[in-house]
Structure formats: structure tokens, C-alpha cells
């Protein structure tokens, strides 16, 4: 599923609110580069929590996770990875200490 189009649109709108009409590519750093600040990061986080059911309290948070269209896309993909079969899930639980909610 293509997540990038709505992400691009969301980020474009968020930048427009800051009167930032400069273009960006999918790998452009938007947060670490300073185009977004920590308060804007909350808007991105809330969008990901609401639209993609990502639980940051569970997976932890780092700015690099939501720094660009690409990083957000891979974050969604990693948390929405197809459910492994039971045996795999057990194995993964042991490796990581937790299983993602999705």
C-alpha cells in the first residue's frame, strides 16, 4: 500500500503552516534539519498514532524515525509488517522483548 502520497501531503501542509513552501524530496531531512521543531514533531506523531495505530510508548521515539517521507514510510512498514505465524511470533518475542500491537 502506498503510504507516501498522504505522508507527503501531510508534511507539505504542515510546512505551509510555517510559511515554508520550499520543495522537499522523499529523503529530505525535515526534523533534524530544523524545518520542523519538536512541537511540529508532535503533529506528525499524533497523525501516525491516529491513522496508522503506531504506539510510540511501546516502540520508543527518536527524531530520526520521522525525519523524512522515507523514514516515516519505513516506520509504518515495520510496524505494519504482515503477522508472522505463531512460532515466529514466539521467537520474535524472545528476541525483542515485545511484540508490536498490529
Amino acid at each position: 500500500m502506498d503510504h507516501k502520497t498522504p505522508i507527503r501531503q501531510f508534511l507539505r501542509d504542515l510546512l505551509a503552516r510555517k510559511s515554508d513552501g520550499q520543495p522537499f524530496s522523499d529523503d529530505s531531512s525535515l526534523l533534524i534539519s530544523g524545518r520542523f521543531d519538536s512541537v511540529d514533531a508532535v503533529d506528525i506523531v499524533v497523525m501516525l498514532e491516529e491513522k496508522f495505530n503506531i504506539d510510540f510508548a511501546e516502540i520508543g521515539f527518536d527524531q530520526s524515525m520521522i525525519d523524512s517521507v522515507d523514514s516515516i514510510d519505513s516506520l509504518i512498514r515495520s510496524t505494519h509488517a504482515p503477522k508472522p505465524c505463531e512460532g515466529d511470533a514466539e521467537e520474535r518475542r524472545e528476541q525483542t522483548g515485545h511484540v508490536s500491537k498490529s
Partner: protein, 509 residues
């Protein structure tokens, strides 16, 4: 900002006669959020009808004081702080020194740990000098102050609104292993004084918190609650307040630092204006606290102190501390003969010489140029002059080559200490130049025999006018206002006269 319905743009033949402009402008002016409106004559065509609108400041301000808006802004900050505690930086923090999230506006990188350490130590020293026994800390965060001050108090009640932050603090307290008897941690917003009785505490601390308040009325509510909670003779320490008189200077300083070398002054000017307007934090003039003290009979004295510290960063340059004293009746303060130190060439050496030669009982000096912000003031001056050209790179070079001739407050403290003088500094004058006032008095006169200083201060009406703070979060509201005004035009104007776009400006072009 364009309205969303792009299809309509292509469909509607737009107003073509200038006499229709007047009607569009008149309709918009009738809206309570609009102070002035003007149709753009330059960008006018069948597919282009743009109107410049100057919004009413009061309308924006009132809209943002709306309780729903207030709640949203508080929730957003809470989330910001909780997220900071989920990162690697917080996980790696040394016990008792969790400074995750303290980033520099200039570099966007964490403020160096040694600078934060100096900031913590100086703040702790200021608070301990108030001799707290029963202390209420509003917004304790990761416990940078609590972990150092609580062991000296009988009771330490600390509140914070971010659950993840409090959880981290509890964990730290457990790990440090000390006894934390008498310490209570409460999860609540700053304006919640439930269970706090009148005259319950001798000290209230609100450190580096006010910038996250949603608006001036919330700030007022918290201050009123804090004053109520105070015993007679108690003190409120409001630390790390961002200075409104220096907001534009701060913005100029950060923008110059970040600018490409070839950036022209005109672009820098725009960026500075944008940074000021886009502030998400509450920036407060010392005048707010002066007015608060004036209107509240429980407040007997007020000090507006410059930050201590040798570190050269935005905290020492653009923030200040306030100490409010509660007591029975107003303290009497004597008038002093103030020496004006504005002139160039009046440096620290002249003060040293005066103290050495004349050995006065005390000396009061006003308008001391502040070495900490001198170059930033110059930056703002340079780029503000319309018609003066230049680039960021050229200005940076020029500033590097210029010596500062103001006095660093820490040099004044050091000189005073060396020559046996107690040094008090004040920013109550609220001058946008960042200059400050000083009183030096001989340490062989006991502090308690000394009358409180009547500092030069901006005269306030005591009514807490809203102009004493900025309006954080304007951007979101301005965006909403544009959408709202476009709908308003659709309701009140024939279709061909509905603007394609509204541009909010500070004054009409």
C-alpha cells in the same frame, strides 16, 4: 494561503472592475477579525483575485484564549515532553542529570552538558538562597532542581503534567537510593491548585515552565494561585522566563547564525519577522510581573534578575529570573542617585576605579550596556534599516571584527566580589537594548540593614495588559482565520467577487 476548492477557481470569472474592489474590502472590514483589507491591484486577473488582510490582534488573542484551544496547546506540550523521555538521550542520561530536550535554537543540537550544569547549579543556588523549607515546585520536569534541593527541605511538593516525565523522575529517585521522605510528586497541570491551602508554602518555584503556558490569562491564573499558596514572608521564584523586550533580537541572532552567507538582509528581515510570529512559546515582558506585583496587595516586593552564568547561550542572553516577595504591607525602598552608564567607553574599569578611589557605601548605575547581547542588538539594528544592503556573511564578518564594549554581568559580579561589594542587577526597566541596572553595596553593611532597592522600572498600570506577552500558536489560528474569512466572503459576496486567496499581513502593502 489558498483556499481549498481549486475547481471553483477555474470556474468563476473574477471581479474585474476596480469599483468592485471597494465592496470586497468593505465586506471584509465588517468582519470582527479584520482591521484592514485591500485587494491586490498588481496580482489581479480573471484567475487571480488576492486580498491582503490585516487581522485584529485582539481577535487572534481572544480566539487563542478559548478554553478548547488552551487545552489543545497544553496537550501538545505534554506530548512533546513525554516524547522526549522516550528517546535515546533520556535513556542514556546520567542519574540526576536528565537534560533530554534541552536543545539550542542556534545549532538545533543539545545545549552542551557543561553549560546545562552551570545553569542547574546557578538556579539551585538562587533558590537555596531563599532558604526554602516548605516548597512547591510547579513543573518539576526531570527533577534537575528537585533532586538537589529536596534534601534540604522539610516538605517538597512537585507537580508536572507529563506522565512519562514523572515516571522517569520516580525511577531516578529510586535509583539514587536516597531517602525522599517529605517529597510528593503530583501529576497535574500548572493551574491546578487542588488541595493547596492558602499560606501553605514558604517557597514556590516555577522554573523554565512559563514558556509552555498557552496564553497570558493562564499565566495570570497560575501566578495568582502561587501567590495564594504563599506564607507571609514567602517567595516565588519564577526562573528562566523568555524576555519579550528581546524577542526580536533573539530571532535576529538565531537567524543570522543559521543564514547562508549570501542571504540578503531583506530575506533575513523576513525570516526574523516569521520567527517572531511563529513562536510556539509564551514570551513575557518583565512588565507583566511588575504589573502583577502592583495589583496584588499580598506582593510586597519584586526583583527582575539577569541570569547568572559565564556560558554564552540563549539562556544567559535572553532569559531572566523573577523573585516575588509576599509579606505584610509594602516594603519601603529608598530613592538612589543613579549614574547613567549609557555612554561609550564606560566599561568595567571605570567602575573598578570608582569603587577603589571613592569607596562609596553603595553605588547605583543605570543603563549598563549588556555585553552578552551587544552583537545581537547590532544585528537587529543592521538588518532593520530598510535601504541598507548587505549579506549575512558580510555581517557575520563585521561582527567578528567588532569588539564589545558593554559589560558582561558576570564581570560586574566578579569585580564587586573582589572589592568587597554585594552586586544586585535588574532588568525591571524592560529596555529592548537589553541594558541593565546595578546596585553595588559594601558587604560590610549587613544585607538586612539595607533598604530594598527602588529599581528603575517600566511604569505599568497594574491591569496586566495583554501586550506584556506574545501570542503563541498564532500560525494555526491565522490559517483557520483565512479559511473562515473565505467562507465569510462566499456568504456575503457574489461568486465572481469571492477572493481566490487571502494573505494575512501585519500592515497593508
Amino acid at each position: 494561503m489558498l483556499r481549498n476548492d481549486e475547481n471553483k477557481q477555474a470556474m468563476s470569472p473574477k471581479a474585474e472592475k476596480p469599483d468592485q474592489f471597494a465592496k470586497i474590502e468593505a465586506v471584509l472590514r465588517r468582519h470582527p477579525g479584520v482591521r484592514a483589507a485591500k485587494v491586490s491591484r498588481e496580482n489581479f486577473g480573471p484567475d487571480e483575485l488576492i486580498v491582503y488582510v490585516v487581522p485584529h490582534d485582539d481577535y487572534v488573542r481572544v480566539a487563542l484564549t478559548d478554553t478548547d484551544e488552551e487545552r489543545k496547546r497544553i496537550q501538545k506540550w505534554r506530548k512533546t515532553f513525554d516524547l522526549m523521555q522516550m528517546g535515546k538521550e533520556a535513556a542514556a542520561a546520567e542519574p540526576g542529570f536528565n537534560i533530554a530536550g534541552w536543545n539550542s535554537s542556534y545549532t538545533r543540537q543539545p545545549i552542551p552538558a557543561q553549560e546545562m550544569r552551570e545553569w542547574v547549579e546557578n538556579t539551585v543556588a538562587e533558590i537555596i538562597s531563599l532558604r526554602p523549607q516548605d516548597l512547591l515546585e510547579i513543573g518539576c520536569g526531570t527533577g534537575l532542581l528537585l533532586l538537589r534541593i529536596a534534601p534540604r527541605c522539610k516538605r517538597y511538593v512537585a507537580t508536572d503534567f507529563a506522565p512519562a516525565v514523572l515516571a522517569k523522575l520516580r525511577k531516578q529517585m529510586e535509583e539514587m537510593g536516597s531517602s525522599w521522605d517529605g517529597v510528593d510528586l503530583l501529576e497535574r497541570t500548572a493551574d491546578n491548585f487542588e488541595g493547596v491551602a492558602e499560606c501553605m508554602f514558604d517557597t514556590v518555584v516555577i522554573n523554565s515552565v512559563t514558556q509552555h503556558f498557552p496564553n497570558v490569562s493562564y499565566l495570570t491564573k497560575v501566578m495568582d494561585g502561587a501567590i495564594q499558596a504563599l506564607k507571609p514572608g514567602g517567595k516565588i521564584f519564577i526562573g528562566d522566563v523568555r524576555s519579550l523586550p528581546l524577542l526580536e533580537t533573539y530571532a535576529a541572532s538565531v537567524e543570522l547564525y543559521q543564514a547562508r552567507p549570501d542571504m540578503e538582509f531583506a530575506e533575513l528581515r523576513e525570516r526574523v519577522a516569521l520567527r517572531v510570529r511563529q513562536q510556539e512559546q509564551l514570551v513575557i515582558s518583565p512588565a507583566f510581573f511588575l504589573a502583577l506585583a502592583e495589583r496584588n496587595p499580598r506582593v510586597s516586593g519584586i526583583e527582575i534578575r539577569l541570569k547568572r552564568g559565564r556560558s554564552d547561550n540563549e539562556l544567559t542572553r535572553f532569559r531572566y529570573d523573577v523573585v516575588l516577595h509576599a509579606g505584610g504591607g509594602r516594603n519601603v525602598s529608598t530613592e538612589l542617585a543613579w549614574l547613567n552608564w549609557t555612554a561609550k567607553g564606560k566599561g568595567i574599569e571605570n567602575i573598578r576605579q570608582m569603587l577603589n578611589d571613592e569607596k562609596p557605601e553603595s553605588v547605583a548605575i543605570t543603563s549598563i550596556r549588556n555585553a552578552r547581547v551587544e552583537k545581537d542588538i547590532k544585528t537587529l539594528e543592521k538588518i532593520s534599516h530598510l535601504g541598507v544592503g548587505g549579506t549575512a556573511g558580510e555581517l557575520r564578518k563585521e561582527l567578528e571584527a567588532t569588539d564589545t564594549d558593554g559589560i558582561n554581568p558576570e564581570d560586574l559580579y566578579a569585580t564587586g566580589e573582589e572589592l568587597g561589594y554585594r552586586v544586585e542587577l535588574s532588568w525591571a526597566s524592560c529596555r529592548p537594548s537589553g541594558s541593565y541596572d546595578a546596585v553595588l553595596s559594601r558587604t560590610d553593611t549587613p544585607a538586612e540593614k539595607k533598604d530594598p532597592v527602588k529599581w528603575p522600572q517600566l511604569s505599568t498600570t497594574g491591569k496586566l495588559p495583554a501586550k506584556y506577552t506574545n501570542v503563541p500558536g498564532q500560525n494555526v489560528f491565522r490559517e483557520r482565520l483565512v479559511q473562515h474569512l473565505l467562507s465569510y466572503c462566499e456568504e456575503h459576496l457574489p461568486e465572481e467577487m469571492v477572493p481566490h486567496a487571502l494573505v494575512l499581513v501585519d500592515s497593508l502593502p
